[in-house]
């Protein structure tokens, strides 16, 4: 059979398995083995299950993922999210929508010690939502802030999804982290603007809080020294070239653990829960990566990506149109799948196409994360919305989706900016190497 037909049927088979509730990683692995078997024989196909599993789980670059997840879980136990929120509120709380601005800034900062979108949304759902509702914020607006702010967790380095992308696309993790700085700041800025415009139209949705004196701001900052130290060590250490990413992750995990112990919040129960949470997320991510690696084997042998590139190049379709189509597809995928799954299912096909169109894989890594994260708050599914609904069940899904509208508009704006001006992503890696 023609390899391309096998590949197309393979992709359809994979989606069928996913629809039939086969876990995504397993569906990709089965498709990879069967497809590779049909093209190159089932003897070699079965051996790739062992070779891909062993190379994935022993990959030292990917090993930073459980370390960052551990750091995020210990940071949550230590109550560092609360500190971040207080710190942001000290400087922004007196403005109209001060708590909303603090939530977005807090999500951005917490993203730097957590690295996960859903974890950030869940944590701030517990920390910020009750506070905003107490201060008479409109429930839909408060919920929208948190669900959208949560998406910053995946973009602000160190980010788990960027590490996965870097390893699969064979790029340097630090380069991707550097490339994410400006888009991360743009994202926070875009959400700030969305909040300000929305509150100009609906001033009662987010009243201002009392202004804090500079003395009290200084005191609050001092009280939050723990989180500032972790940020300095992890983020500063990586960007300053003091640590490798693995060392920074190890320092972050140990510091967060020490803070939790020092603050007497690390009960035996909390310790085991943090470890269990880390184990679950680690296994979930690795399951998808192993499946995606097996699938990539099959896709590469079928030469489908080359055919796809040739087909699109031959069709004379404008690059802009191809990109727009891709972005729509990712928006859809992001609203259905988890971020890692949405990225890894498509990467073997899409990355060669992006490179053929003359774009940098670094640029695409950032744009890819941004667009999938927008999917995380896009109806009908939008994983972050469901996570927040799980934390605050009094808020209906409709209420949360209603609150997301201004942020969704801001997201589309920032996505267009990042696509039209790739320099915003590529400039820092260019000058910092």
């Amino acid at each position: 059979m023609d390899p391309i037909i096998v590949a197309v049927l393979g992709v359809l088979f994979m989606f069928l398995l996913i629809l039939l509730q086969v876990p995504i990683g397993i569906a990709m692995a089965v498709t990879g083995v069967v497809g590779y078997g049909l093209l190159s024989g089932f003897g070699p196909a079965i051996t790739i299950i062992a070779t891909e599993t062993s190379s994935t789980i022993s990959n030292p670059d990917l090993a930073v993922i459980p370390l960052f997840l551990l750091m995020g879980n210990f940071a949550s136990v230590a109550g560092l999210s609360g500190d971040i929120y207080k710190l942001a509120y000290a400087f922004l709380g007196h403005r109209r929508g001060g708590l909303a601005l603090s939530t977005v800034a807090g999500c951005g900062l917490f993203g730097a010690v957590c690295g996960s979108s859903t974890a950030t949304a869940a944590t701030f759902g517990k920390v910020a939502l009750p506070e905003m509702l107490d201060r008479k914020y409109a429930p839909h607006f408060a919920a929208g802030c948190i669900a959208a702010g949560g998406t910053l967790g995946s973009l602000i380095p160190p980010s788990v999804i960027l590490i996965v992308y870097a390893v699969i696309a064979e790029e340097f993790i630090v380069t991707l982290f550097i490339a994410a700085i400006i888009p991360g700041l743009i994202s926070i800025g875009a959400y700030f603007i969305a909040i300000m415009i929305y509150l100009r139209i609906n001033p009662k949705a987010g009243p201002a809080g009392p202004r804090m004196s500079w003395r009290n701001r200084f005191k609050t900052t001092l009280r939050c020294w723990g989180v500032i130290l972790i940020l300095l060590v992890v983020v500063g250490g990586i960007y300053g070239g003091v640590f490798t990413v693995t060392e920074a992750a190890a320092f972050g995990a140990v510091l967060a653990f020490l803070f939790a112990v020092g603050r007497r919040k690390m009960t035996r129960r909390m310790f085991w829960d943090a470890l269990e949470g880390t184990a679950m997320t680690t296994a979930m991510i690795y399951g998808i990566i192993i499946g995606a690696n097996i699938m990539t084997y099959f896709v590469t042998v079928s030469r489908m990506p080359d055919e796809l590139v040739g087909l699109i190049s031959g069709s004379q379709m404008p690059t802009f149109l191809v990109l727009t189509l891709l972005l729509f597809v990712y928006l859809l995928l992001g609203s259905i799948f988890d971020t890692v799954a949405a990225m890894l299912i498509t990467l073997p096909f899409v990355l060669p196409l992006i490179i053929d169109m003359g774009y940098s894989p670094i640029w695409w890594g950032i744009v890819n994360v941004v667009v999938i994260e927008i999917g995380m708050i896009t109806p009908p599914i939008g994983l972050n919305v469901f996570v927040l609904h799980g934390v605050a069940q009094d808020l209906s899904l409709t209420t949360i989706f209603r609150g997301i509208v201004p942020f969704l508009l801001a997201d589309i704006g920032r996505l267009i900016i990042l696509v039209v001006f790739p320099i915003l992503i590529m400039w820092l890696p260019g000058i910092l190497g």
Partner: protein, 184 residues
């Protein structure tokens, strides 16, 4: 308590224990890395060969997390079709997904065991410390083998739930039919 429930409880405790041992290992690895950096800075004398062991430790830690994730159904699954057709369909499809997973984990366990045999035959060692790698991969293989019965337990759980749902819906139908008969 039925014998299946007893087995189920034991599997729950066992998978949790394995994952926790693995994650304590991760924390230890993090502490060792911190110590390594400190020794490098202060005494210019890092822990010899720590990087060498990273891959082996990582493989063991990741493999230790898999049984718990399988038992708790933590792998990402789209339950779109099941949600449309109801609880029973969800359980039936979960059982199907579990069966497919069972096949993959069985093949994975078998192939990793053979891969370890190969490493042992070749006498593969780490670069710096010259540690033999096959014992580590034997442990990883055992952890993957553990995934097979754990997956089987989840399949049985889903199948039992599907049968219970069927019985429950059957009872509802018959109980709702009785008054009609009585009225007639």
């Amino acid at each position: 308590m039925s014998s299946f429930e007893q087995i189920d409880r034991a599997v729950k405790r066992f998978t949790r224990m394995i994952a926790l041992i693995g994650l304590v290992g991760l924390l230890t690895l993090a502490l060792a890395t911190v110590l390594d950096v400190m020794l490098r800075w202060i005494f210019n004398s890092p822990i010899v060969g720590l990087n060498d062991t990273y891959s082996l430790f990582a493989a063991l830690i990741i493999a230790s997390c898999l049984p718990l994730c399988i038992y708790r159904r933590g792998n990402i699954t789209i339950r779109f079709v099941g949600n449309i057709f109801g609880e029973r369909a969800t359980n039936v499809l979960d059982a199907f997904g579990g069966l497919v997973s069972l096949i993959i984990f069985s093949v994975m366990a078998w192939q990793l065991w053979r891969y370890t045999d190969q490493l042992a035959r070749d006498g593969e060692t780490t670069w710096v410390l010259n540690w033999p790698v096959s014992p580590w991969w034997r442990l990883v293989s055992i952890l993957i083998i553990i995934c097979v019965p754990v997956t089987l337990i989840t399949v049985i759980q889903s199948a039992k739930s599907a049968i219970r749902e069927k019985d429950a819906s059957g009872r509802v139908e018959s109980s709702s039919a009785q008054p009609r008969e009585g009225n007639n």
